[in-house]
Amino acid sequence: MSETSFFTSRLDEALGWARKNSIFQYPFVTACCGMEYMATACSHYDVDRFGAGLPRFSPRQADVLFVVGTISHKMAPVLKRIYEQMADPKWVVAFGVCTCTGGFYDNYATVQGIDTIIPVDVYIPGCPPRPEMVLDGLIKLQNKIQRQHSTGERPAPEPRPEFS
């Protein structure tokens, strides 16, 4: 890890704070998780209060790619292309268990986890995940963005909480 002085670490923190509170998401919505995504984004479980309320439907203008719903093999090249079109810094959230591991669609048509194609930052399992889980995942993503250095280097994973 590079040496950080007082100024660069303050800068990193400021950048992290600014980035985490202004998330422009690209909701790559395919399937049922899209309904829970809509529920999270709307008034009841508002995601706008986290600064993440404005979806940008162009990959060039977005920084977080929310992959919501099952990805089939037919759709996989499209997903990869969208990911490659996004500009750094970018993060990927695997929303729903179909994107984490393929879910219970263990068959010829489904990608068994999008981390086989693109790197993933936060996994939100659930079929579909409750909006509270989505918000928890979003907060974890925000913590990750906060800890990320301005050089773009990915931080180490959060230490596991200790259960007594």
Binding site: V29, E36, V78, A109, R130
Partner: protein
């Protein structure tokens, strides 16, 4: 050389400019919230000459998976077909298998299924109308409708335990009975939904922009719609009044009085109005059903007058004191909701080879234990006779049919879903041709394409 076209304005004709069609690819990743689809359009300026639709981006192999798991195990897969109205899919599949096995379910179970199907239908129409209004710029209506949908989902969660993917029906019944305090939250939820519907109506129905964009676009005639196999609100907006609930009634729909709204012109505005009215009719159905439903489970203990806890019953059974509790009902923990003897007469069919026994019987006598084993052991389970059936229900988009073939094994031999929006999507090129590119938004929104159902 000017291209010969039939719908040129006089200005273009006199100008004699050379024109060439432009190919525009829309999707598969696109902003509309409905699903992943690819439309390749050939445009002349803003007007669509030809459109080709490519689907299959969400094909998850439902029909193949249904052959690998047993009949009750298909339930979660059916939830994810039309994921905005999962209870209708559950019900359709269960009724198809029940028809194949040849059993009937108790009347209260029919009423419960009807109530939850109609609630699902309302949430489907809310999502469809809300999302298509949002795409036209009416973001407020979307937020209002999702708010109403949250109330309905709270209701569904009270009954089934899950908001969306519920897996509530079982072959031969439902998972558990309605909670005893269902009527009051239901009434409140409907009050809120009616408020939302009247607000959205005030915002949209006579809104100049909305009316201009929706009227006259995406027009299809009734004969064309029938030729494509279109059913449901889409067909009813063109003038034909085919509704599976009225024409081929199933469950208890023949006892409930409701109207089927029918449009006239077959354009997007008619579809919007048909869906808004259908939501009101669905609420009417649920209210009638709650009034007419036969009474529910009664917890009875024949000896002491109150039911005994399940743990006590198991202890008595272990020491062999079966007589102390025979005929009594147990209070089980919430995760075993629906498995106690008190609920069984109202939610389960009597056919022993299909539905799990009451927990009191599983632990209390050998017949119940065998019934449990025969249904739960790998390779056993529900084993219908050899045969094929087709059972249609009225899905939110049209006739949702299940064609089930069985060869006597524990899992289905073939399960085919007749998806209602497949037919509508096959007619989409016809709907889009001749309209402008901006008319594609309301047309595609009113199609209510659900990827899970279209591609399965």
């Amino acid at each position: 050389m000017p291209i010969e076209t039939t719908n040129l304005t006089p200005l273009d004709e006199t100008a004699g400019l050379e024109t060439r069609d432009m190919l525009l690819n829309i999707g598969p990743a696109h902003p509309a919230m409905h699903g992943i689809i690819r439309i390749v359009t050939k445009l002349d300026g803003e007007r669509i000459h030809e459109a080709e639709v490519e689907i299959g981006y969400l094909h998850r192999g439902f029909e193949k998976m249904a052959e690998t798991v047993d009949f009750n195990g298909v339930m979660p897969y059916t939830d994810r077909l039309n994921y905005v109205s999962p209870l209708i899919n559950n019900m359709g599949y269960c009724m198809a298998v029940e028809k194949l096995v040849g059993i009937t379910v108790p009347e209260r179970c029919h009423y419960i299924r009807v109530i939850l199907s109609e609630i699902s239908r309302i949430s489907d129409h809310l999502t469809c109308v809300g999302a298509s209004a949002m795409e036209l710029g009416a973001f407020t209506v979307f937020l209002y409708m999702i708010k109403a949908r949250e109330y309905l989902w709270d209701l569904v969660e009270k009954v089934t335990g899950a908001r969306m993917t519920v897996s509530y029906c079982r072959v031969g019944g439902v998972k558990a009975d309605l909670p005893s305090d269902f009527a009051e939250p239901c009434r409140k939820a409907f009050e809120e939904t009616r408020k939302v519907l009247s607000e959205s109506d005030a915002l949209l129905t006579r809104n100049r922009i909305f009316v201009d964009r929706m009227t006259g676009t995406g027009v299809i005639s009734a004969e064309d719609a029938i030729a494509y196999g279109i059913t449901g609100p889409f067909l009813r907006s063109t003038g034909s009044d085919y509704d599976v609930r009225k024409d081929c009634p199933y469950a208890v729909y023949d006892r409930l009085s409701f109207e089927v709204p029918v449009g006239m012109r077959g354009d997007n505005m008619d579809r919007f109005l048909v869906r808004m009215e259908e939501m009101e009719q669905s609420m009417r159905i649920v209210e009638q059903a709650l009034r007419d439903i036969p009474p529910g489970p009664v917890l009875v203990n024949t000896q002491t007058g109150h039911p005994i806890p399940a743990a006590e019953m198991v202890d008595l059974a272990k020491v062999g004191n079966i007589n102390a509790f025979s005929g009594d009902s147990a209070v089980t923990c919430p995760t075993l909701e629906g498995s106690s003897r008190s609920q069984h007469p109202s939610i389960a069919t009597e056919e022993k080879r299909v539905f799990l026994p009451a927990k009191e019987d599983t632990y209390g006598n050998i017949e119940g234990l065998m019934q449990q084993f025969k249904l739960v052991m790998f390779g056993h389970g529900v084993r219908p006779p050899k045969g094929e059936v087709y059972f249609p229900v009225e899905g939110a988009n049209g006739e949702l049919g299940f064609y089930v073939v069985s060869d006597g094994a524990g899992n289905a031999y073939r399960v085919r879903v007749r998806p209602p929006c497949f037919a509508i999507m096959s007619a989409l090129p016809k709907l889009l041709t001749g309209d402008m590119i901006a008319d594609m938004i309301p047309t595609f929104g009113s199609v209510n394409m659900i990827g899970g159902e279209l591609d399965r």
